[in-house]
Symmetry: C2
Subunit: 328 residues, 2 copies
Amino acid sequence: VNRQVIMQRRPDGVPLETDLAVIDCEEANLNSGDVLCQSQWFSLDPYLRSVMGGRHMSGKLEVGDVIPGGVLARVIQSDTSDFVKGDWVLTHGFYERFCKPADQLQKLDMQIDSPSHYLGVLGMPGLTAWAGITQLAKVQAGDAVLISAALGPVGATAGQIAKALGARVIGIAGGPAKCAAVMQHYGFDACIDYKADDFTAQLKSATLKGIDVYFDNVGGRVLEAALQNLALGARVILCGLMDQYNQAERPAGPNLGPVIGARAHLMGLVVYDFFPRMEEFRAYALDLMRAGKLRALEDVSLGIEQTPAAFVRLMRGENFGKVLVKLT
Amino acid sequence: VNRQVIMQRRPDGVPLETDLAVIDCEEANLNSGDVLCQSQWFSLDPYLRSVMGGRHMSGKLEVGDVIPGGVLARVIQSDTSDFVKGDWVLTHGFYERFCKPADQLQKLDMQIDSPSHYLGVLGMPGLTAWAGITQLAKVQAGDAVLISAALGPVGATAGQIAKALGARVIGIAGGPAKCAAVMQHYGFDACIDYKADDFTAQLKSATLKGIDVYFDNVGGRVLEAALQNLALGARVILCGLMDQYNQAERPAGPNLGPVIGARAHLMGLVVYDFFPRMEEFRAYALDLMRAGKLRALEDVSLGIEQTPAAFVRLMRGENFGKVLVKLT
């Protein structure tokens, strides 16, 4: 029997496992000219909470709709010469098996031993990090780069790319264990616990000469604190708002007075704009990986039935690295 | 007898006339190597409220200190070959007569019949407008440009420069009379009253294709509303925070979600950075003035004793154009 993961209820605040449901669905059969695939990995990402809340630019989900998260799958059977059995493909939609036209599948040139990295460090999160660090902020050697949600796939990749470019990189993460991993596993120069009582004082002393680049994945009071410590001409990449994804109403933002004083540039980043450059990014990232300069922690749950729980842990910030479900 | 304008009390909220005082002071005498000047015009600008509140980057004022506003003066007597009697000079500090070293005076090549314009459209406010429109936002023909505090010297000059560059220019001002003047006197294509009940609806319908450039002089709910109507790739010049200058505590700012969605760039503007380019700006602005494309409304009070009242009217938004005191 085939299964899918749907939105069973629109989340109110932090999602509950019962907001999602794993249910049986129609068996996928090969249609003429199409490709039949078996999902191997599901990608869970915070933007899905916005989609479920009806506030995401990619479209609004209705109750009963399949969760449109990223999927890494293999071709079972193909009725087009573009794909053959065994090909790895990227697509969207949490089904165990599915049949799709070729133009809805992105074929992967699997160059590494860990296919799941194509959903994280070599996928959309990695591309986001690369775009922000190299294309928008244009990080240079000697820059002081601050990165929030530093243990997540965007933040961790952004920090490692900035390190490779010669920057001093300071992370922000939640709790001592995450902060330790950010430094030990990803090689950040420092990592500050935003849950600590003296967070703003720690941030100030870690960035005494001012922050040249802040890669913001969270918004809220962490962004507010970062803006107090900008160097002249700082660049701030506005990329994510983890602090408010679980809220129905958009809260007020930081006072922008310090942005004027620092002559800072705040830039909105949407990764979709960089999809045409995915191959360029992947070549860059693969080189870094092979040189041992780019690593990726994964937080893997086993079995499609674990998808709701994995998503809830992600949205509670309880994950440790890129959240994936490995289908068994 | 010589007189000066001092801060008599640190303002609490909207300034009162008694927060300033016009008092007698020591007569100015020519010191060896220096220049003796007679003030002709005082410039009143909102940043002075921040200086009085102790929150401005140019330094903190103490009770009893002279108000460090811009002054247009003429040389009475000079003990240096750099200046001769009758020269027009720019400097800071609200004294009737003063003696200063030559390096604290900026000599003006008086090319127009209205010297006071060197404190407004041809001075710091004009330079601010030019820097934001031409250097940061890089306005181009066809851009939809929104400008708040549109009747003030920064906003009005910014709008006229944007018009000269071929942009469609929409102003925001307080009340129907100001809005009418923005359109009739400065030639803006539209002007919206932020005090109107349906301000946000009016703003939306005036900027249907989205705002390409927003020149923000006010912050607060006007900035919040502007961010809801950005075009893709919009540039937002963060220049002033009139909305909060009268407040002791910095209020929260706008939610930055729309900045991400619009891939917008927010840029802090501090005019000091552009002082080295004042002559370049003045040549540009004089050309526009002579072509009839750059005008300037002035709100003139007569006599040094009117300085406190003029400042209070400015900080209450009751002025109508650039606020000046003409010394008699």
